[in-house]
Symmetry: D2
Subunit: 377 residues, 4 copies
Amino acid sequence: MVGGGEGAFIGAVHRSAAALDGDYTLVCGAFASDAIRSRQAGIALDLEPERSYSSYEAMFAAEAAMPAEERMEVVAIVTPNHLHSPVARAALQHGFHVLSDKPATLSLAECLTLRDVVAASGRLYGLTHPYSAYPLVVEAAERVRAGELGTIRKVIVEYTQGWLAEPIERSGQKQAAWRSDPKKAGASGCMGDIGVHAFQLAELVSGLTTTQLCADLNRVVPGRALDDDGTVLLRFANGATGTLIASQICTGDENDFRLRVYGDSASLEWNQQAPNTLLLKPAHSPMQQLRTGGPALSAPAQAHTRLPSGHPEGYLEAFANLYRTFAAQVRAHSEGATAAHTVPGIDAALRGMAFIETVVAAGKSEQKWHPFPEVGT
Amino acid sequence: MVGGGEGAFIGAVHRSAAALDGDYTLVCGAFASDAIRSRQAGIALDLEPERSYSSYEAMFAAEAAMPAEERMEVVAIVTPNHLHSPVARAALQHGFHVLSDKPATLSLAECLTLRDVVAASGRLYGLTHPYSAYPLVVEAAERVRAGELGTIRKVIVEYTQGWLAEPIERSGQKQAAWRSDPKKAGASGCMGDIGVHAFQLAELVSGLTTTQLCADLNRVVPGRALDDDGTVLLRFANGATGTLIASQICTGDENDFRLRVYGDSASLEWNQQAPNTLLLKPAHSPMQQLRTGGPALSAPAQAHTRLPSGHPEGYLEAFANLYRTFAAQVRAHSEGATAAHTVPGIDAALRGMAFIETVVAAGKSEQKWHPFPEVGT
Amino acid sequence: MVGGGEGAFIGAVHRSAAALDGDYTLVCGAFASDAIRSRQAGIALDLEPERSYSSYEAMFAAEAAMPAEERMEVVAIVTPNHLHSPVARAALQHGFHVLSDKPATLSLAECLTLRDVVAASGRLYGLTHPYSAYPLVVEAAERVRAGELGTIRKVIVEYTQGWLAEPIERSGQKQAAWRSDPKKAGASGCMGDIGVHAFQLAELVSGLTTTQLCADLNRVVPGRALDDDGTVLLRFANGATGTLIASQICTGDENDFRLRVYGDSASLEWNQQAPNTLLLKPAHSPMQQLRTGGPALSAPAQAHTRLPSGHPEGYLEAFANLYRTFAAQVRAHSEGATAAHTVPGIDAALRGMAFIETVVAAGKSEQKWHPFPEVGT
Amino acid sequence: MVGGGEGAFIGAVHRSAAALDGDYTLVCGAFASDAIRSRQAGIALDLEPERSYSSYEAMFAAEAAMPAEERMEVVAIVTPNHLHSPVARAALQHGFHVLSDKPATLSLAECLTLRDVVAASGRLYGLTHPYSAYPLVVEAAERVRAGELGTIRKVIVEYTQGWLAEPIERSGQKQAAWRSDPKKAGASGCMGDIGVHAFQLAELVSGLTTTQLCADLNRVVPGRALDDDGTVLLRFANGATGTLIASQICTGDENDFRLRVYGDSASLEWNQQAPNTLLLKPAHSPMQQLRTGGPALSAPAQAHTRLPSGHPEGYLEAFANLYRTFAAQVRAHSEGATAAHTVPGIDAALRGMAFIETVVAAGKSEQKWHPFPEVGT
């Protein structure tokens, strides 16, 4: 693991998620740029002291030099955004599989480079979009794929949070600080942080490809260098349209991440705040409540479910699904095979970076519609 | 009453709403353009046969000639859109107060003319935006007005329906037929029909004034002449932004009319499908569920409530609130006074027409932002 | 109308409900036992002064003496409980149809007498159990009747309120005062006031007949003479069991009236706080949300619906359904016919009184199970 | 771990829960009574082959003989019910701490014996009532303890499931088979399986002690030897009353476990199907939605929360809270200290067994009220 020292929320999430199914053992880490703090983090995690490194470069070099059966196999990257890409490149080049937090890179150009590194390395690359691994998101995508919704006509996706409604980045909140710093977060704040999750989910579930967009990005809290709010109009290749709302200044909202996909035969609605229910709205018969672990679910959704119905599953379980799926990919890869189900990979990374760059450019423009780069499809 | 013969949904709604509080008695009507059908409708409603007229012109002439204590006092206009304006003008000019379905007219120019007729007539003019008369919408507006939300930063308003997801206007559904006919509906389908309700509610509750907008209007069902779907980005005078989604092709949705208003101190959320709950989300304390008839409501909200808490109120009660409020206006007017609370009037009509025209123009344009006319504020 | 003067909540509900469909015109009333207050109430309701009476006896005598086409046809009884029965008897004996608030009488014996008066009079008798007239309660009963649930095994019905959690009857709240006075309310407080609604709904929807019960009744607020809380265990003729919870001391609850009926093929759940949704839970397929005005509803449910789906209907509309149905009964009766659908009548009254008496006796007994009288089935 | 071989749902839950926080490492197990199957389970879990035992007796003997720093420290018991007690006794007598699935024993007498074994062993004993470890259940108990509800007057607790609505125990469903076999499940089916969870939660959160009960237990599915449904009336020491509904034949229900606690100042409502919301209903101000990770929560609730608000937590996280808390207890114990917060222990076990025995006896009796044994308080 790279990153994830004390005080880092997402590092602990990765470790719990990886632990859930017994597919991973944490063997080493570069948890902090400070050697002592990295060592302390490693001790707290029961690592052998010499395998807590003070830099990712040192870790990759040392681990790569170890015998195959002892050395680390997969690197989890949980640093602030600006390090995702250099760490991933180095890891791949040293022969490690990579599971990286999003965004993959700080720019689309950098992501195209990363794609080449992935291809050259022969290693696996995965991107942690956890929302796509909820059982009922998997089900939603399956239903669309199976044609149950007919032709998709409209997508509405919203991700509203309130935790940045005040300038907490100025009073020492670490999570807020790097997210609002262009050097660490990249070209976008809110869109890069959560808009890209919404975008990924919208394309994943609808099966549609964005071709054009119009964007309104705002810096609501005075003094911010990056957007903390925005709305994006989407046009898809099949003629359908979409609306994407992402905001971090929605006072009182938690993680109100909601997706609606409208087809001409039926529609679907899913809400991350109540992730164990998926609403299916057929054109001419009553709405159905599909439930995690409940009847009538597809095999892939069942494979993403750990408990019988009525035992609520949450964010950690979704995150753990990514780790479990990636473990299956690594096992398949080591046997020269290909896994049937995969986590979002370098193509998702490319589309994410294309989204961020296009949205930022469109947000500054008086022109209404902007073409969306043809990458990652 | 003008319009509202057999098969007309909204005419019956008006009559029930007017009956609810005992403030009105239906005395005459021009229910249909066909004399026999108008007469039959009148008989079914227990009217004296000679007071069912075959045209609104005939009705206004005959009623105006009657003694003051016998003649009609208020005209309710429930015709298809294209007749709203000529009927209203004639009624006002004959000295009757008018309560009209929206839109007030088919164009902004026509609405400016209507404004002058209202002013010249000395009569009252009301527009039936029923959603604005739900008790908790009144409460929401009061809370904003009282400063409880702080500065408003963002508004999201959605009104999604599924009933036009198929071209039912081609198989004889009357409601759908006139709504999709530019001659009867005006320049816009979906935006003129329901988008304008969303717009009115957004401005009413937030207290903000729209200054610019960007629009994406779509004709999703092939063969339609008017928009049946769209998204509008709004900019308000205070720098806040808004997103307005209106669609009639959202398969399986009923009247999913939801409003969220985000301030820097607190936020509000209301959903017409569960109209007796208003969610108040303060920045630093738990969400509150305000309930129709429940504790902590303002006097205006209480005045819009008929039943103790726990007895659900619905659309008819909201509609009846408009009628009751307009009756109070008429009573005050007859005494030379002014009512404290009023239904949406000619100014709301002007802003509605400005919304429709601007949205239609912006929807066709490659330019992103379009100024919003300064009318009705 | 008898009762329903100033300050009486339920009288206004009856008048609004009766007005909703245009089937009734209020022509006379004995609104209060004080002649002047009754007259004032009548004036406020636009009645002719001489038709506001100071007693129901005077009203029945005077109206019965009027020509048939002028006199009152139906009496609505909205007095405190102790007057329901004498007023109803007198009205029936004078030849008027009766629509009475529940409970029909203060005792089962008195109700058996009333049954005989109804039979002898040849007039119609209706009891206002409004919850049974919600569209989706009608639907629920239809689904059970059609066998969709299979054999009914279990019923859970709850009606919890919080408005009597404090002794407000001692500080002049009129509604609370008569309800907690044994002379005016009868043998039971909470069970007679709301438990009997729960009982009626449970039997109506499940189609089952109670044969035995076990009861725990409590007087929670110190100083009360009548129960304000209780739980009843039910045994039905087919071997199914039930649990009925009724309480008026549930701090913070409004009218949380919820019914669940469990069959071996499917189950149903309905909640008065969200009355436009009915949950259907089949044994082996996803839950369905049936919606007022939505697809797949039976003809009787549609007949109890006024608006298209998505326009919420509430308590007043349910109440108005009783009035509309009773009007249809009266019309059928005057033509010598029988209405297909009827409001709860004298049989429902008998079962209600049997419930109250048995529950009160069982609540005081150390014996577990008590037989339920075979009346009204 | 004892039990939890292939096909055992709860064993996997225990392992995932234990893994979540990194406080436990699985070092040995007696997963099945068949030596080969136990060994295979151990291999799948990456255990050293010689530490997969064919019986718990063999495991305890072998592990107790190992050096302190290598041997097992805590035993998790996840067998069918009839083995819980003998395994626990043996483990304690060999010096191991025990975390056992409920019920602790098959009878109250056996549980009193177990209490003595616990006391004599000086080891810790914990019982896995996972629902009591949801963050908002902890919060609910804290709010009651702090007096925010005032005097508790009424408790309603329901746990309804539908998975045993059909006799699936006869078609080889293992989970159903042992639960409906009196030899393996004990004196009660439904009450012993889920009723006891409801009872534990009701006493835990309300802080009340049951003194009397009246029970109606049913065997709804023909052919069952044990109850699969029931309702229990409770009387508490402070004069409050309660209703407990537990059923496994509620077609279409999942794990509808809902608790309502009514005080004279405020009330609380929690539902396991949406475990991240707790409804607080004050007597005279609007309802509040308390949220996992949200504002205004107590320190103990925060300590039971892993993620920021808006990241839904579920059943596994609650279960993991038990493991984490028990790990803290073990650490404190090894240092001669006492943990501030503990999992349910032998006292909860005693009350659980007292509940089951009393309920079964009361269910068979024609006497209404039955005294509740004074144990475990």
